[in-house]
């Protein structure tokens, strides 16, 4: 059991050691309890693919997979994810060998500025695995947790559709 109780007088609680399996690799890091999973990934592990958009669970730019389920990494603490498998966009593909969903986003122009794209891609990978890519309406509903302020939605929907079709 992890136990970090503030010492008397309200002194800052000590940092805790957290073990995560990030993109297949076991990582240990020492963080204060207040550090979000997103900040741990970006600031401690140097994985800047997941973006800090709203930092309030409203935009989806920070989407990652934890034990294969898509979540917002900004609204959970790193310490809460002790022992879990975390997949970020860096764990999906590389520029030389992109994930099929990444290739589809390129092919179908599923982005403009690119800020939301890592979250869109990770979310789309999960959506396809969940079986929610049956129609354009279904894709729009199940991608609703990822906002794109450039409004590249037609391209995003086309990319998810194509990737789902190619994967089935």
């Amino acid at each position: 059991m992890i136990e970090v109780v503030p010492s008397e007088g309200g002194v800052v609680p000590a940092a805790v050691e957290v073990g995560l399996v990030v993109n297949g690799e076991a990582r240990r890091l020492v963080v204060e309890p207040r550090v979000t999973l997103l900040d741990a990934l970006r600031e401690r592990l140097g994985l800047t693919g997941a973006k800090k958009g709203c930092d309030h669970g409203e935009c989806g730019a920070c989407t990652v997979l934890v034990d294969d389920r898509r979540i917002y990494s900004c609204t959970t603490l790193a310490v809460m994810q002790e022992g879990r498998r975390v997949t970020t966009v860096e764990g999906l593909g590389t520029p030389e060998s992109p994930h099929p969903v990444q290739a589809a986003f390129v092919e179908h122009d599923g982005m403009q500025c690119g800020m939301c794209t890592p979250g869109q891609v990770v979310s789309a990978v999960a959506l396809i695995a969940e079986g929610h890519a049956g129609s354009e309406d279904e894709i729009r509903e199940w991608m609703s947790g990822n906002l794109c302020r450039c409004a590249a939605y037609p391209g995003i929907v086309a990319a998810v559709r194509a990737a789902a079709g190619g994967a089935s």
Partner: protein, 327 residues
């Protein structure tokens, strides 16, 4: 976020004892709501007690109904085949809430304990009677398009944000609570207090009490239930108005009904007058129109949210029509 301590409790009893013994401690389940409180300065706990890995996530089916663990994630309950078939209002309300990512994180217990999304409440630079009693309510004379049309007090016109709570009200659900003195059950109708002098009081929970489960009776209406949520955008938005309804039709006439509204009051809002308008009549145009009218008879909107009255009326009608068409 200000610094805080963190402990992963080893049992629900230990979690309740830890929080009960420390006024500055709070539970964290999925984290999706309390992390925003911490970031926005709405809560300042010295210790977070994690109840997310206590095995409180079971969905159990019995002859009498459902027993949902408070730690069950919204997405897992919404996906459950039995829930979808036998308690459609529950599955639909859960899927109408939040986004896929949040539903994978958020627990049922945490969902019931969400606080209002009133922008004045969420932004501590504004006065707010719910945050700091006696400072006033800027929403009443300010932007209140999203605010209450029923049951508001002089002190506060905020609305409760949960879809799940509205569905549970239509299902006569009971909330199971664990405290240091043992367990107790609270009817969902009594879980959220009526407007009083102190808008800070939002649930029947005492400090240190942990929601451990939700009991949902099968009853004669659960299967013939429905949910409709009206939002500013197609998905991932809080309700302008939502309606949960459950109707029992025997030999062509309504024998019993539950109708509850969301997005219109500081608590999920049961409209008994609308239920009564259906009783003993076929679920058809005349009774449905009367129920829709009765649902908003007591509405007392502010200048900026009069539109909600018409939406509520129409939403009640549409949910009842949809239930009628399903038979």
């Amino acid at each position: 976020m200000r610094p805080f301590g963190y402990v992963r409790a080893e049992s629900p009893e230990a979690a309740a004892a830890l929080v009960a013994g420390d006024l500055s401690a709070a539970f964290v389940g999925g984290g999706t709501e309390i992390l925003n409180w911490l970031k926005d300065g709405l809560a300042d706990p010295a210790l977070l007690v994690d109840v997310g890995r206590l095995g409180l996530d079971a969905v159990e089916v019995s002859d009498g109904g459902l027993r949902l663990g408070s730690g069950a994630r919204m997405s897992d309950v919404a996906r459950d085949r039995h829930v979808r078939a036998e308690f459609p209002v529950l599955a639909r309300a859960l899927e109408a809430g939040a986004s896929p990512q949040l539903r994978n994180m958020a627990t049922l217990g945490g969902n019931l304990l969400q606080r209002t999304r009133c922008a004045y409440f969420r932004e501590p630079s504004f006065p707010c009677n719910k945050r700091v009693p006696g400072t006033g309510c800027p929403a009443r004379d300010g932007d209140h398009a999203m605010h209450a049309i029923l049951g508001a007090s002089d002190a506060c016109v905020a609305v409760h944000p949960s879809d799940l709570a509205v569905a549970l009200l239509a299902l006569d659900a009971r909330v199971e609570v664990l405290g240091v003195h043992g367990r107790r059950e609270v009817a969902i109708e009594d879980f959220y207090p009526h407007a009083g002098d102190d808008p800070r009081r939002e649930t029947a929970l005492r400090h240190g009490e942990l929601v451990v489960g939700i009991g949902v009776p099968s009853g004669p209406r659960a299967r013939t239930s429905g949910y409709l949520k009206v939002r500013e955008r197609g998905s991932f938005a809080f309700a302008l108005v939502s309606v949960a309804a459950a109707v029992e039709v025997v030999e062509g006439v309504v024998r019993s009904a539950r109708i509850a509204l969301g997005g219109v009051a500081h608590r999920p809002w049961r409209v008994r007058a609308a239920e009564d308008a259906l009783l003993g009549r076929p679920l058809a145009d005349g009774s449905v129109a009367d129920a829709a009218e009765a649902a908003v008879r007591d509405a007392d909107p502010l200048p900026g949210n009069r539109y909600k009255v018409a939406i509520a009326r129409g939403a009640v009608r549409r949910v009842l029509e949809e239930i009628g068409e399903r038979g």
